[in-house]
């Protein structure tokens, strides 16, 4: 039977059709991920928990599961390009005191709270300013004011007041909810909102990143917000009419709300998009399952044929060995191998799997080979002088090969599920992004307890769909390659 005929036969039953479509989709996705992206760099980044700060909202559900989306506010304010409002300008001794305010109004229209707010606040000032103090406030639609930064003295010429890094390289915004609770910004925001909210539990639950936008009962406050940066300082000399204040100081403020949802599948607790993880894990699923099942069916198939053609004590010995290996429990041995060797190499894991799983097809293949061996045409081939090798490769193997393929297809789920189990125990290759690892992360971060269902549901579903594809394909293939079952 030709390959085209087999495909046509598979297409004829509905499971086969679904399986083929799913298989093609997954293969295309896997190839696309590897070809169109810098796969190595992307998976390295995906495995690095710290590389995702601030890029996406953390632990948010997929957007289709959220009835109201939060508004995405993105502010980049540079005071040197803004018109300042001089609140105070008066002479104090030999100095002139300035209180300058830059403010910016924007609308918050989302009916839900964002998951967090990113903030970066960088201040530059001249060294000869005295008593420089900075304050950042948010005037909210209900006329309450939240002090994001209470009056804080700035002593250095260049300070990243809120943000990460800065001494070297570009400073990055920080997510407010990741701040420690004794951080002044954290305290200042919580303290200014607490009379409104009242409930202590809700305060800690929401965190400053959400509280900024929260009104009574923790609901989102809609309407016009005004963020203002107020700087006060003393400049030597008389007050001048010069309005160009940016020569004294400039403040850079970046504020961004992180949505309360992300994409198709949400994000995990460090802000990695789940859908990206599933895409990155797909090529590895193919590698793991094909590597193991190809080797096991080839070794097991060959061994089974050998056992069928061996005679006497040799056959007995071969079957005893297979029986022994078959009785070794796989997962415990794998665990021990990984723990003890302390080598979390994926290839070690896969090879150990092969070393224990190859017996799977032996019994079936052997009985098939025995059946074929007893056929008269094998005897006829012997009578015309065909060598054993010729009989094996020209007569027996072509009969068994399609069945081996079906066995291989049906065996695809095993290695994937075993690898996932190992990953879940924390015993997988740290350089290999797999779906099992995503499930491990979810479990470790208490995703179940926290109700972050998307972070464990989707990787598991990906696993299920992947395995089910091959099982359906195998079941469609079985009656074709083993025609005896067709009558069923």
């Amino acid at each position: 039977m030709s390959a085209a005929e087999i495909l046509r036969e598979i297409w004829r039953c509905w499971t086969g059709r679904i399986a083929l479509i799913l298989l093609i989709i997954q293969l295309c996705l896997a190839v696309w991920v590897v070809v169109s992206t810098d796969y190595a760099a992307l998976s390295r980044k995906y495995l690095d928990e710290t590389a995702w700060l601030g890029e996406y909202p953390r632990a948010v559900p997929p957007c289709w599961a959220v009835p109201h989306h939060a508004d995405i506010i993105q502010l980049k304010l540079n005071t040197s390009t803004m018109k300042p409002e001089i609140v105070e300008k008066r002479q104090v001794g030999r100095y002139t005191r300035y209180v300058v305010k830059w403010s910016y109004q924007f609308e918050y229209k989302g009916h839900a709270l964002p998951s967090d707010t990113l903030l970066l606040l960088v201040v530059k000032r001249l060294p000869d300013l005295k008593a420089y103090k900075l304050e950042v406030k948010l005037l909210r639609p209900d006329n309450s004011t939240v002090a994001i930064l209470a009056k804080t003295p700035i002593t250095k010429e260049y300070v990243v007041v809120v943000g990460i890094g800065g001494a070297k390289g570009k400073p990055k915004p920080v997510a407010l909810n990741t701040l420690p609770s004794d951080d002044p910004v954290y305290r200042s925001i919580v303290d200014s909102v607490s009379p409104l909210i009242g409930d202590e539990k809700l305060l800690t639950e929401l965190g400053p990143g959400k509280l900024l936008w929260a009104g009574r009962g923790g609901k989102a406050l809609l309407g016009t917000y005004e963020i203002s940066v107020v700087a006060s300082f003393y400049v030597k000399g008389q007050p001048s009419s010069d309005t160009n204040l940016s020569k004294y100081t400039s403040v850079y403020l970046e504020m961004q709300t992180l949505g309360n949802c992300y994409g198709l599948m949400g994000t995990d607790s460090v802000g990695r998009p789940i859908e990206l993880g599933i895409l990155i894990g797909l090529p590895w699923s193919f590698v793991i399952s094909f590597y193991v099942t190809f080797l096991t069916t080839m070794i097991g198939g060959f061994y089974g044929i050998l056992a069928a053609f061996a005679s006497g004590w040799r056959a007995e010995l071969l079957m005893r060995i297979a029986d022994t290996v078959y009785s070794i429990p796989l997962l415990p041995i794998l665990i021990v191998v990984v723990i003890v060797t302390r080598s979390y190499s994926i290839w070690l894991i896969l090879t150990t799997m092969v070393a224990l799983l190859w017996v799977g097809p032996v019994v079936v293949v052997r009985s098939m080979a025995l059946q074929i061996k007893s056929q008269p045409y094998i005897e006829a081939a012997k009578a015309i002088g065909a060598s054993n090798a010729r009989i094996l490769f020209r007569y027996v193997l072509p009969q068994i090969l399609p069945y081996l393929v079906a066995l291989m297809v049906l065996g695809i789920p095993d290695p994937i599920i075993i690898e996932a189990a190992l990953a879940f125990l924390g015993l997988s290759d740290p350089t290999v992004p797999t779906w099992g690892k995503m499930l491990e992360w979810a479990w470790k971060e208490h995703a179940v307890l926290n109700g972050w269902w998307w972070s464990f549901l989707f990787p598991g579903l990906a696993l299920t769909v992947f395995c089910a594809t091959f099982l359906m394909l195998g079941r469609a293939l079985e009656p074709i390659v083993a025609p005896k079952l067709k009558s069923r």
Binding site: T15, R320, D323, T324, S327, I328, P329, L330, L331, P332, I333, I335, V336, V337, I339, V340, T341, P413, I417, I418, A420, A421, F424, L425, G426, L427, L439, A442, W443, V448, L449, G451, W453, F456, L457, G460, L463, T464, V465, F466, C467, A468, L471, M472, R475, S487, R488
Partner: protein
């Protein structure tokens, strides 16, 4: 008779192979453990011994050093690794006590670091969980399999086929996570895995068992029903069934009187075997997810705590149990199936 003996013979062979693999993998770690025990022993008997209290430190160290050498020799730690491998294998095979690094018992003799006790006290929980599930599974799967076999390609057959495909495709422990999320936290029907349970109290254990049992039954019923259906259909094509049909027996009677009788032995063994298999494989993590005080959770605990002696004993005992149950099943199969008994 002949193959019962040969099956019986495979048990020690497999056990030996497994133990040799284990021990040769862990021998260096076991060495370290033994050395540490020697050091503790020496500290107790020399350094802090009041008898030697007035000896100068230097002399104490000398005595300690000598004692250490003696102990190493006495325990055979100075022998080459291949001798030690057999030494360790022998002590495992003969159930010589081996002590956990971190874990201790909680029910039998609480606080004991004896690795065998630690494993032993968990076994009943695993057995209870999975035998209960097995019985329920069988009760559900046999009628379902019969229904599916009666109309191959019918609706029930399709459902069971799909169900079994999905049951094989899903890791059990992932389903466990989903079930916990739904039943414990979303709908709050069952106590969650973090719930404190008195593991010596049958009632609180039963409460905790509900969700794991439901999950295991859900995951195994589809597969078992599908297998039962395949076995039944295999038998339905045989000649004696055709004869029975030709005699005009109603289909229901044929199923019950002819097919089921022939199908019973493979069904029973397949169900039990698949469950035994699951105990040593998938159940490890399922139990850990449910925080169920069985062998699986112990695996998890031991791996997390890096408690090699416990892992060692655990693998050894679970392999032994697995082999014994498989052997028992083989005998059961022969007993149930007269065709094999005669052969």
């Amino acid at each position: 008779m002949r193959w019962i003996i040969s099956k019986l013979l495979t048990i020690p062979i497999v056990l030996l192979v497994v133990i040799l693999i284990l021990v040769s993998l862990t021998s260096s770690i076991l060495d370290q453990i033994m050395m540490k025990q020697i050091e503790i022993e020496i500290r107790r008997s020399v350094i802090t011994n009041p008898q030697y209290a007035n000896l100068p430190m230097e002399q104490k160290m000398k005595i300690a050093e000598r004692m250490k050498e003696e102990l190493i020799k006495a325990l055979g730690l100075d022998k080459p690794w291949y001798v030690k491998v057999f030494m360790y294998a022998y002590s495992l095979l003969t159930f010589k006590p081996i002590y956990a690094r971190v874990l201790t018992t909680r029910i039998i003799d609480p606080g004991s670091p004896n690795a065998y006790l630690i494993v032993l006290e968990r076994i009943p929980f695993t057995v209870v969980l999975f035998t209960t599930s097995a019985i329920i599974t069988l009760c559900l799967a046999i009628p379902l399999g019969l229904l599916a076999a009666r109309k191959p390609g019918g609706l029930i057959d399709k459902i069971i086929s799909a169900w079994s495909i999905f049951s094989i495709s899903m890791p059990w422990w992932w389903v466990a996570m989903v079930m916990i999320w739904l039943f414990c936290y979303e709908w709050r029907i069952f106590p969650g895995p973090e719930h404190e349970t008195d593991w010596a109290n049958p009632i609180s254990v039963a409460q905790r068992a509900a969700l794991p049992v439901i999950t295991v039954v859900m995951m195994s019923t589809g597969v078992v029903a599908y297998r039962i259906r395949s076995i039944l259909l295999d038998i339905l094509t045989e000649d004696f069934i055709t004869t029975a049909r030709a005699k005009g027996l109603p289909e229901r009677m044929i199923l019950r009187r002819y097919v089921l009788r022939v199908a019973a032995p493979p069904i029973v063994t397949i169900v039990l075997l698949s469950i035994v298999l699951s105990i040593v494989s998938g159940a490890i993590i399922t139990e850990a997810v449910f925080n169920w005080y069985g062998i699986g959770l112990l695996f998890w605990d031991a791996v997390v705590a890096n408690d090699i002696p416990v892992v060692l004993v655990l693998v050894y005992i679970s392999t032994l149990l697995y082999l014994l149950t498989r052997f028992a099943l083989d005998i059961l199969y022969t007993y149930l199936d007269p065709r094999i008994r005669r052969a």
